[in-house]
């Protein structure tokens, strides 16, 4: 369908296509029209619109790509393909998902294709993984007193050591960040997806559930196990001074 009816970049409607009103996401009107303007400007070949999208999403796309493709060069390639995909597909973008979700979906598909080609295991089924939650404890049971303890069953043998006295520049150092990255790499692929989107990118739980197509409960299981493992890695690292 031809889109030539658009004259300027400030058309108030989300898209020029059919069904756009019913399909518009129920988010705040300002966000939707800003997005509609960006989409329209991009269709018109406005470089500024493209630059602002890159600035906004490129770093996050690269981090998500690395969830599937730990090799940085492969991840960068997938992100570049994503941007090409965005440009090629922008005319067909109908606004049924948000622009952000649409872009990240393209990325996920490209990255998974690359990962499959490389023979990597990928989180096709976060649902299955979360469903298989075996109730394994996330903290070493040895750290708690046994269930038959006369006074304090299930209580800490000794309290975790507070990080309050650790200077902030140590907590935020590149070395500490490296340890966190390592801990993330050691997670299962589905846990890695969820913790990356929720805690690194700061997506809401609704956004993540929708994007990964999992329930809130499943997401919580994955997030809980992932956070507990990263915390444990930090504890191990921060205590050997």
């Amino acid at each position: 369908m031809s889109q030539h009816a658009h004259h300027t970049g400030d058309a108030p409607e989300p898209t020029g296509g059919q069904q756009h009103v019913e399909g518009a996401p129920p988010s705040d009107a300002a966000g939707v029209s800003e997005e509609a303007r960006l989409v329209e400007a991009l269709r018109q070949g406005d470089e500024q619109a493209f630059t602002s999208l890159i600035d906004r999403y490129h770093p996050a796309l690269l981090r998500l790509a690395q969830v599937y493709l730990p090799d940085r060069a492969a991840a960068e390639e997938a992100v570049q393909e994503t941007w090409v995909g965005v440009l090629q597909g922008i005319r067909q973008f109908e606004g049924r998902a948000s622009l952000k979700t649409w872009i990240f979906r393209i990325l996920m598909n490209r990255a998974k294709t690359h990962a499959l080609r490389e023979g990597r295991s990928i989180p096709f089924s976060a649902l299955a993984e979360a469903g298989e939650d075996d109730g394994e404890p996330t903290v070493d049971p040895q750290r708690f007193l046994p269930p038959d303890h006369p006074k304090w069953p299930g209580h800490w043998v000794s309290f975790p050591q507070s990080w309050e006295d650790i200077p902030e520049d140590r907590l935020l150092s590149l070395e500490t960040q490296g340890r966190i990255q390592q801990a993330i790499q050691a997670l299962s692929p589905s846990q890695r997806e969820v913790i990356t989107l929720r805690d690194i990118e700061g997506w809401s739980s609704d956004e993540v559930c929708n994007f990964l197509n999992i329930s809130q409960a499943n997401q919580r299981v994955l997030l809980h196990r992932a956070r507990a493992q990263v915390r444990q890695a930090l504890e191990n690292y921060l205590k050997d001074e």
């Binding site: 470089e47 770093p59 981090r63 404890p137 975790p160 805690d199 690194i200 956070r227 990263v230």
Partner: protein, 86 residues
């Protein structure tokens, strides 16, 4: 000694994400709060999970990427030229 209503530390550490996500049943939430009020170890654990989240969030502060950006803008020019020629 734990009564039926009390949570042990071992149970509390498995509830922290539900607690932070406001996803616990009201009753469990109340037991969790009562436990936290009395237990410095679990308060530390909860705080460490929150500190972990803060440190994870800091990973999103990545440096600029001028070379990649230049490259992407060249791709954009190519797309624009072929696109508008259609």
């Amino acid at each position: 000694m734990n009564t039926a209503n009390e949570l042990s530390c071992k149970e509390v550490v498995e509830l922290v994400t539900g607690y932070l996500e406001h996803a616990l049943l009201a009753e469990t939430q109340a037991h969790m709060e009562a436990h936290l009020a009395d237990c410095p170890g679990c308060r530390t654990y909860l705080l460490q999970i929150q500190q972990t989240i803060t440190l994870l969030r800091a990973l999103s502060q990545e440096p600029a990427f001028p070379e990649t950006k230049e490259h992407l803008l060249r791709l954009f020019e190519q797309w624009k030229n072929s696109n508008l020629a259609q």
